[in-house]
Symmetry: D2
Subunit: 121 residues, 4 copies
């Protein structure tokens, strides 16, 4: 009887931890620094979309879509690293946040309305 | 004979797609807008770390760690949504990026050195 | 014969330096930390625009415009502080950058085209 | 009797408005898009500091300091453009914000303490 194979995020987490350890980079990977790296990548993501319309952003050509995929990958990589360094279960945290969102944004109240939660009431 | 259960990211993807559809929010969820939402959350993440030292960022107290976990969750949620909207396989993109990083940052060359790739040579 | 009064940015620089000194906050105001604070405020700025259309962003109502003005102020404040800490002349740096932009984006070549510079050629 | 020469920020505002008009770029310069461009530049700023210590960030070498000055210039440029598009007086907004900060962070209460305002009480 074998255990279930580790989840894809867990496999990435282990691989990234090994990557950093082999390069002696854990000394640089404080959550503070990793948060900076993440927001830097998020800024690069935004740059791909800053001068195009929402409609254009829905139908990227192959090259641009590939470039965006690389930014998304970079963000995921730093997200996994921060969570790992802080001992946060990313999937569990996302599931908990979705529950909160479901109660903050009841279907019938917010249908078709994207104002932010704090703008209600 | 049963298929393997869907991966955790895939389960989140489906749940978030349903969440948006039920609220008629897909009209707001252009990749352009989702990228903005993601960088906004990344900014909130950084705010938790801006006045503390790297050392302090490694040992957050329970409340702050919980608050940071919520920001990480928000980032993951928007990351999954953008990837979904663009048809990008997040795990595959991250694996491809790690391969690139392994060749850009050979262990023996970068050990203990965190300069960015473009600063080499 | 009197000297010209200091420029508005210079007056703000002095006032912010005094503000920090009186609170003994220079110890926290490393360029690293101030850059984090700035990107956090930039994230807050973006949040005001993330779910609205470009057209709506051009015609904000009074409350939203006021809220955006506060974010712009926060960004300017941190911008002045970083420049001060690094001894950078903000106005001079902007003038130098505009000259660069004028040569990178010649009028006749880029008229009506907002692709980023690196995407040319 | 001559009027005072326009302030440095006002001169930059006019020059940037002309720059955009000559390139027919006002169509792209919605506040939404400009906010994205600004946060992208803020992300680039942060990238310069992400792997170095606070102490190192206080003493950049000439090349790095020059590169950072360019990022600061880019941020100022987009800041001026957004303010212009929204009819916001940047200097006035910053002065108003400093008054708020002075009352939120009384000298005697926050001396040497950089916790964020909402964390007080």
């Amino acid at each position: 009887m074998s255990a279930a194979p580790p989840d894809s995020l867990e496999r990435l987490r282990r691989r990234l931890a090994k990557f950093a350890a082999e390069r002696d980079w854990d000394q640089f990977h404080s959550p503070k620094n990793l948060a900076m790296a993440l927001v830097g990548e998020a800024g690069e993501l935004v740059e791909h979309f800053q001068w195009i319309s929402q409609e254009q952003s829905r139908t990227l050509d192959t090259d641009k879509r590939q470039a965006v995929a690389h930014e998304l990958a970079d963000i995921l990589i730093y997200l996994i690293r921060i969570a790992d360094k802080l001992g946060v279960d990313l999937i569990g945290a996302a599931e908990a946040k979705i529950l909160i969102n479901e109660s903050r944004y009841p279907r019938d109240k917010v249908r078709g309305d994207a104002r932010r939660a704090e703008e209600y009431e």
